[in-house]
């Protein structure tokens, strides 16, 4: 029983990481049908922001708290820059956007290598987050995992509320549902796109801050994350957040179970096979936006 719950929590915490890195993508991919391969490098930017802040702010806890908003803005600004300079010109060509942003991600990785050096760097975790919580039944849960879970849920909650309640959220939803109709209704779609891109990329930065708690920071960290993140969004279905949330946790639990029963590498393959099988059943993802458009 303890093993079962332990595995379940491992799965949930893997899911929380997946959710954090995929949330921004769900927004940008969902809204603009744009594949931003540089999303992983925005995560990296968030992680390095934490590292840089720790050089000046010595308190690990304080620097983490400061890093969250700063990384959001840094990564968000990078996203807007990318949107304005390149992606905006390529909306009609989603596959080409994929390749172009991959080129951008290569350059950003090399930039990180030149600025911070190729070896990985490490940040200090605040003391509060290094321990474990002991639960009745001999179960222990690492504090940093718990923190990431809370952060992921908070991010989902904030994003959901923003999409549901604010005027900006209403505009974003309108553009997702029907871009042309939104445009003729007087919504400045290009401005909405830019804002969406800022939010989505900013969330990548927040994910980067969280990832510093789990491991070292390196120039190629983004490449390893981006595919998992995209799979979450593809399987979850674009245009809505709830699909991504559910799929992130489901994949996390599947991964953890697979890892427990076999090995890490076999578990990854199991997840891949499961995804292909799932897409046989629902090729458009778990939840789809039902529209009347012909596609």
């Amino acid at each position: 029983m303890t093993v079962l719950f332990g595995q379940l929590f491992t799965g949930i915490s893997i899911g929380a990481v997946l959710l954090l890195i995929a949330l921004g993508l769900a927004l940008t991919f969902g809204q603009m049908n744009v594949i931003n391969m540089a999303h992983g490098e925005f995560i990296m930017a968030g992680a390095y922001t934490t590292y840089v802040l720790q050089q000046s702010i010595t308190g690990a806890g304080l620097s983490l708290v400061v890093a969250l908003p700063v990384a959001f803005v840094v990564a968000g600004a990078m996203g807007v820059l990318l949107e304005v300079l390149l992606i905006r010109r390529l909306y009609a060509r989603p596959l080409d956007t994929l390749l172009v942003t991959w080129g951008v991600s290569l350059m950003l990785q090399q930039l990180a290598r030149d600025v911070f050096g190729s070896p990985n760097v490490q940040t200090r975790a605040p003391e509060l987050l290094t321990g474990n919580v002991a639960l009745p039944g001999g179960l222990t849960i690492a504090n940093n995992r718990l923190f990431i879970l809370a952060l992921a849920l908070a991010a989902v909650a904030a994003l959901t509320l923003a999409l549901r309640l604010t005027p900006l959220g209403r505009r974003i939803r309108a553009v997702v549902q029907n871009r042309d109709l939104a445009a003729v209704s007087g919504i400045a779609t290009s401005r909405v796109d830019r804002t969406t891109f800022f939010l989505g990329s900013g969330l990548a930065g927040v994910a980067g801050v969280a990832l510093t708690l789990l491991g070292p920071i390196g120039p190629t960290m983004g490449t390893n994350l981006i595919i998992d993140a995209f799979l979450v969004v593809v399987v979850g279905g674009i245009g809505q957040l709830k699909g991504s949330v559910m799929v992130a946790f489901a994949l996390g639990v599947l991964q953890a179970t697979g890892e427990y029963l076999t090995t890490l590498s076999v578990a990854k393959v199991i997840v891949f096979v499961a995804i292909v099988a799932f897409l046989q059943w629902r090729p458009q993802g778990l939840f789809t936006l039902r529209t009347r458009s012909l596609a």
Binding site: A92, R93, T223, V276, Q280
Partner: protein
């Protein structure tokens, strides 16, 4: 052979006479020109290059030509069929590993085990799935058929359910990621991160001997030319026309009574077979196959050469792949960091601003010379462009 660009998929209702000749038959003149082109290419590869280049450079060229074979396949799948496959490294790797396993077993002699297994493993005997590769009659066909089978499996599942565009690209990339993780994880039987290295012999020929290296180069060059000839026939056949039609208007082709899934599947499987063959020939040319050569990054690097050369042309992918690989060697020897920037920049500039690749510059120049020669403008017809912009997945 930009001269024989197929007719753009006509959007107007063009009454085709019943039993007409295949659309856009390669005329006699263009056939002559193609033959001349092949003769020129053969002369260049078989006579000029071995004379001019040192043994070291010739071995490098052999490596580039293997990459070019993968590029030809990507040109069919992506340029002609619109399927951006970011996982060709998987097929390259399957071919390469199949060949390397056979060569390792041949090096070890009958009943022997590859050196690395004794090094890492607690294995007392050869794993079961290695055994068939001891026979060249199994291993050689497997280098091509194994990748094709995997492509067929994935493709028939995915295309039937109309998973396409970016979704397909992501899935193909995830396949590459899964394959690499599996290879590294099963270190005892696959060689792990190191891969299969130190391959000494090639069907009885010592690969350290420069004469035999030269022979491998000739095999590779010949194979590439054969693949190009095959590709030319393919893209000028009725099937080739259909493939382009599926790329430009999949729904329309479906309504005409064809099955776009099968059309795409054939192109994907052919591309996989070419990548497998390339991987198999890469192994004797370079002497190693490892996860680092087939993962996400190399898979996407196969694509950049195709994009630079011109994705929808016959020769563009080959020339682009060789040029990019050559530039990579030349530049990263001297300035390792700069190459990465340049590679990124190449992706951005070529794909964003010159989607037809360098071949489109050629076509543009020709149009100015010749006058009213019809040259396809853009890479997607306007209708498709509009459709994609407003595309919302159907319920």
């Amino acid at each position: 052979m930009t001269a024989v660009t197929p007719a753009p998929p006509s959007t107007a209702v063009a009454p085709a006479p019943a039993g007409a000749a295949p659309p856009n038959p390669p005329g006699r003149r263009s056939r002559l020109r193609t033959a001349a082109g092949f003769a020129f290419g053969a002369a260049l590869l078989f006579a000029v290059a071995p004379l001019v280049l040192s043994d070291f450079r010739l071995a490098l060229l052999a490596k580039y030509l293997c990459v070019a074979m993968v590029a030809v396949g990507i040109g069919i799948a992506w340029g002609r069929g619109g399927m951006l496959t970011l996982g060709q490294g998987v097929f390259f790797g399957l071919g390469g590993y199949a060949m390397a396993m056979h060569l390792k077993l041949a090096d070890a002699g009958p009943g022997g085990m590859p050196d690395f297994m004794q090094l890492y493993g607690q294995l007392d005997e050869l794993p079961l799935w290695w055994r068939p590769f001891a026979s060249p009659w199994f291993a050689l066909p497997a280098t091509v058929l194994l990748p094709m089978a995997v492509a067929f499996g994935l493709g028939s599942l995915v295309f039937r359910r109309r998973v396409r565009g970016a979704y397909f690209a992501i899935l193909s990339q995830a396949l590459a990621a899964a394959m690499v993780i599996l290879l590294i994880g099963q270190q005892g039987t696959t060689g792990g991160t190191n891969g299969l290295t130190d391959i000494k012999g090639f069907f009885g020929y010592d690969l350290d001997d420069p004469v035999n290296q030269r022979m491998v180069y000739f095999i590779i060059a010949g194979t590439l030319l054969a693949l190009l000839a095959l590709t030319r026939q393919l893209i000028h056949s009725r099937y080739g026309e259909l493939l382009v039609a599926v790329r430009d208007g999949e729904e329309r082709v479906r309504f005409l009574g064809y099955d776009p899934a099968s059309v795409k599947l054939v192109a994907y499987v052919v591309a996989a077979g070419m990548a497998g063959l390339a991987g198999a020939l890469f192994v004797p040319a370079v002497g190693i196959i490892s996860p680092a050569l087939i993962g996400i990054v190399p898979s996407i690097e196969f694509v950049i050469g195709v994009a630079v050369g011109g994705r929808a042309t016959l020769l563009g992918p080959v020339l682009g792949a060789v040029a990019v690989a050559w530039a990579r060697t030349a530049l990263s020897e001297r300035f390792p960091g700069t190459w990465t920037y340049l590679q990124g920049l190449l992706f951005v500039v070529v794909v964003a601003f010159l989607p037809g690749g360098l071949a489109s510059l050629w076509a543009l120049a020709r149009r100015r010379d010749v006058g009213a020669r019809p040259v396809r403008r853009g890479w997607l017809p306007a209708a498709r462009r509009r459709a994609e912009r407003t595309e919302v997945p159907a319920a």
